[in-house]
């Protein structure tokens, strides 16, 4: 492994998960393959949410979706209720995705219509979703569909069906980013929003699609997770921090413009294996959180954000008046001409 490869941040997720896996192997009598198989059946949920969060973070500085956690919980209830009411698993999963889209639609309206910063818009949409979740949870009696649960637990030759499906989904996201105009536009917006605007990219439409995609993916994760475990108001709680963390450790550029979908697998597996290790050793969740946080900070400070000079030092001003436009021009460009 050369230094150049090590400098690619996404490698750290895989390295860390390999280390944790080796430790588990050394400590337990459990077979190594079984550990991997178990991790592969739990990681896909996090990967689904992480892919959505990755798209949002790729849209550039300030973009983040903090509504994923309440969306997962809400979509879980909605999906289980819809499945119970119609008897169709497909309708249930679609209802879950629809829930995610609906919550994301509120965020999109607030972000684009009212110019509210994404963090506040998605926070507010998430608060609304969590209230709906609590109302639904009151006296909720429907049980998840047994067929879907069995499907999610299916592991032919030790490889969970869901892991294969999510691997295909990841491949689709990779293709989306490189092969479609939407994907290219998103990457352009993330690199430089003013440049993307001037290049004729419909920035508002791209942003809307991105937040809707994130909502839909969170909804999907919620629908599946509710069938796998059980619907509960806390179903999604850990996924807010975890989804952002797996994106960062996965090597996606935090200042936007470059997405690494594959890296999410590495960091998601790391998180899941860490859970297993902690249970095995009998460590508290404290250590788990310290390790997670430590790794996020380590990768973050190692990778740095200095690729774009103006990302942290000079923020775009609110109103592009001639005078302020000139200021921005000179602060970023006075080294090249003059």
């Amino acid at each position: 492994m050369t230094l150049r490869t090590l400098a690619r941040p996404w490698i750290w997720g895989f390295v860390a998960s390999a280390l944790v896996w080796a430790t588990i192997l050394a400590l337990s009598s459990q077979g190594g393959g079984q550990t991997v198989s178990l991790a592969l059946s739990l990681a896909p949920y996090l990967v689904i949410v992480g892919l959505g969060q990755m798209l949002v973070i790729t849209a550039g500085p300030g973009n983040i979706d903090v509504s994923v956690a309440p969306v997962i919980s809400l979509a879980g209830f909605v999906a289980v209720a819809a499945t119970a009411a119609t008897g169709s698993v497909a309708v249930g999963v679609l209802a879950g995705i629809g829930t995610g889209l609906a919550v994301a639609a509120i965020s999109v309206l607030a972000i684009l219509g009212l110019s509210i910063p994404p963090i506040i818009a998605t926070l507010a949409a998430g608060l609304i979703a969590s209230s709906l979740t609590l109302s639904l949870a009151d006296g909720f009696t429907a049980v998840p569909d047994e067929g879907l649960r069995q499907l999610l637990n299916l592991r032919p030759a030790g490889v969970p069906v869901l892991a294969v499906a999510v691997a295909v989904l990841t491949a689709l996201v990779v293709a989306l980013l490189s092969r479609t105009t939407y994907g290219r536009s998103l990457l352009a917006v993330g690199q430089s929003r003013p440049a993307a605007e001037r290049a004729g990219i419909p920035v508002a439409r791209v942003l809307a699609a991105t937040y809707l995609a994130s909502g839909a993916l969170a909804g999907l994760a919620g629908a599946l997770l509710a069938a796998y475990i059980a619907p509960s108001p806390d179903l999604g709680t850990r996924y807010l921090l975890d989804s952002v963390a797996v994106v960062v450790i996965g090597g996606t550029l935090i200042s936007g413009g470059r997405a690494v979908p594959v890296g999410i697998w590495g960091s998601a597996l790391f998180f899941i294996l860490l859970d297993g290790l902690v249970n095995l050793v009998g460590w508290s969740t404290a250590a788990q959180n310290l390790l997670k946080g430590g790794l996020v900070l380590f990768v973050l400070f190692l990778a740095g954000g200095g690729t774009r000079r103006d990302a942290t030092t000079s923020r775009p001003r609110r109103r592009p008046r001639p005078a302020t436009a000139a200021t921005a021009a000179t602060t970023t460009g006075d080294n090249t001409h003059g």
């Binding site: 479609t180 430089s192 440049a195 001037r198 990219i201 413009g257 000139a326 006075d334 080294n335």
Partner: protein, 511 residues
């Protein structure tokens, strides 16, 4: 301590004690100073001396190296080679902003160096804190800036409690100049385009104050593109060209034309402005874009018409409404604007709104055309690659299609961004002064590209701050203070004519 730089008293005695009000003592000297940014050699060996008690005018074209020289003289950055001395003492190589050597050298920036969210008094504290008491600094700063503004700009209307954001451009400029001059000892005051947004009265009282400053032994370095103004105020004029001072003469006896000649004729203007334009009289072309008496947001009653296959220029001094016209045409949301057909935009500030830094040349070039080539939102890579190849060849973009965008020189980056717009199917291409700081060969290539594309039926609206470029247009609108003051066509378009119209009555500068 006090913030008034009243005549040098015993309190502010210079360390060497050699300060005599002779007026011939050099305050700041630059010897063979060079400065390189990446591939750009901004300064190629500058020799300059600023003497106590004089006003030195510094003129030169965009990109001649004025701003870089100012930054070096003000101690904001170090030079690569050469020597800068302040009051006879050589400045160390690792100079940083705020270095002790440069305490008495102050600069008023053109784009101002104020924090918009802070009040005037707080901004004064930021820059003059060494001369303010630790306690009750707010009151002291308010009193000082109020007094200085009263001296410099009677009737300025600025209250020290105001937030800078709430001030008009002219008042911000006044505060910036007052801020720079507020220090307990001032050896050199650098004024960078100080009158750009000031009214004529304010400009006059500023120059009166400059005279009192020099009478006290302070040196003033004045940078301005208003050559007549420089000639009337300065004792000496230094002309910069291509990163060096090419002339240094007493202002007395110099005429505006002399200075213009020293600044260098417009080398970029070829004798033959391309294929003879205006084969079709402008009135007969189908109109594809139009502004009808547009007002608001910096425009006053502006009417602009663009015919198919026409190259329309927007000329005049910088910031007189040209960008607003382009903005209207780019996003025709108002009722007074009609644009038929699709548009593409070539931004002038390529670092901020042109370059997509993570991508290669090919990716940067094709991003606009990609949407037109794609089918059902899926890219067609073969077609894209073919388009990229042909454009890279046509404009001879050095480095090729796979080079990283940030590895290219400025001129080549600009070629890519121009190609991005023309590679699309847009009917109307808007150019926002994109050729600033681009080398002559690249410019010539791009000029002929524009003419070729226009001959193929595309319309171009072209804002340029270099008047010579306007020779490549079929028609030119000259703007001043948000109004169209002249419309020139065909033979009428000449640099002299444009300058004449844009400067005429320019004494009543925009407020």
């Amino acid at each position: 301590m006090h913030v008034d730089n009243l005549p040098v008293g015993p309190l502010a005695a210079p360390p060497s004690g050699d300060r005599e009000p002779t007026g011939a003592q050099p305050v700041v000297t630059a010897r063979q100073v060079t400065r390189t940014y990446g591939r750009t050699r901004a300064l190629t060996g500058v020799d300059l001396e600023v003497r106590a008690g004089e006003v030195l005018g510094l003129v030169g074209h965009n990109g001649a190296g004025k701003s870089t020289l100012m930054r070096v003289l003000a101690g904001l950055e170090a030079c690569d080679e050469g020597v800068v001395t302040v009051r006879g003492q050589e400045v160390p190589r690792d100079v940083r902003p705020g270095a002790a050597e440069f305490r008495a050298v102050r600069m008023a920036y053109q784009e101002t160096s104020l924090c918009p969210d802070l009040t005037v008094a707080e901004n004064i504290w930021i820059s003059s804190r060494r001369c303010l008491p630790r306690l009750r600094w707010r009151r002291a700063a308010s009193a000082a800036v109020q007094r200085r503004l009263d001296e410099m700009f009677p009737g300025h209307g600025v209250v020290p409690r105001d937030r800078v954001e709430a001030l008009t451009l002219a008042r911000r400029q006044m505060v910036e100049i007052a801020r720079a001059s507020l220090v307990d000892r001032l050896d050199l005051l650098i004024l960078d385009e100080p009158t750009e947004s000031l009214g004529p009265d304010a400009a006059r009282s500023l120059y009166d104050h400059v005279r009192t400053l020099t009478a006290r032994g302070t040196a003033v370095l004045l940078i301005s593109h208003r050559i007549r103004e420089v000639l009337s105020v300065a004792d000496r004029v230094a002309v910069m060209r291509d990163g060096a001072v090419v002339a240094d003469k007493p202002a007395a006896g110099l005429s505006e034309d002399d200075v213009l000649v020293l600044m260098g004729a417009e080398v970029a203007a070829p004798a033959d402005p391309g294929p003879a334009p205006a084969a079709v009289p402008a009135g007969d072309r189908p109109v594809i874009a139009e502004l009808r008496a547009a007002s608001g947001h910096g425009l006053h009653d502006v009417s602009v018409r663009v015919g198919a296959g026409e190259v329309v220029g927007l000329a005049g001094l910088a910031g007189q409404g040209q960008q607003e016209v382009l903005e209207r045409l780019w996003r025709p949301v108002r009722k007074d604007t009609t644009v038929l057909g699709s548009r593409a935009y070539v931004p002038g500030d390529r670092q901020r709104s042109g370059v997509l830094p993570l991508w290669s040349v090919a990716e940067n070039l094709i991003v606009t055309a990609m949407r037109g080539l794609a089918r059902y939102g899926v890219r067609r890579r073969a077609e894209e690659a073919a388009a990229v190849r042909s454009w890279v060849d046509r404009l001879a973009i050095r480095g090729g299609a796979d080079a990283g965008m940030t590895e290219l020189s400025g001129g080549n980056q600009q070629k890519v961004i121009v190609a991005r717009a023309f590679a699309s199917t847009a009917d109307l291409v808007l150019l926002d002064d994109p050729f600033r700081g681009v080398d002559v060969h690249t410019k010539t290539d791009l000029y002929s590209l524009i003419r070729e594309e226009a001959a193929n039926g595309r319309s171009v609206v072209w804002h340029s701050s270099e008047n010579a470029e306007m020779a490549h247009c079929d028609r030119v609108y000259v703007l001043r203070a948000g109004r169209v003051v002249a419309e020139l066509a065909g033979e009428e378009i000449s640099e002299e004519r444009i300058i004449a119209v844009s400067f005429a009555e320019s004494t009543e500068a925009p407020q």
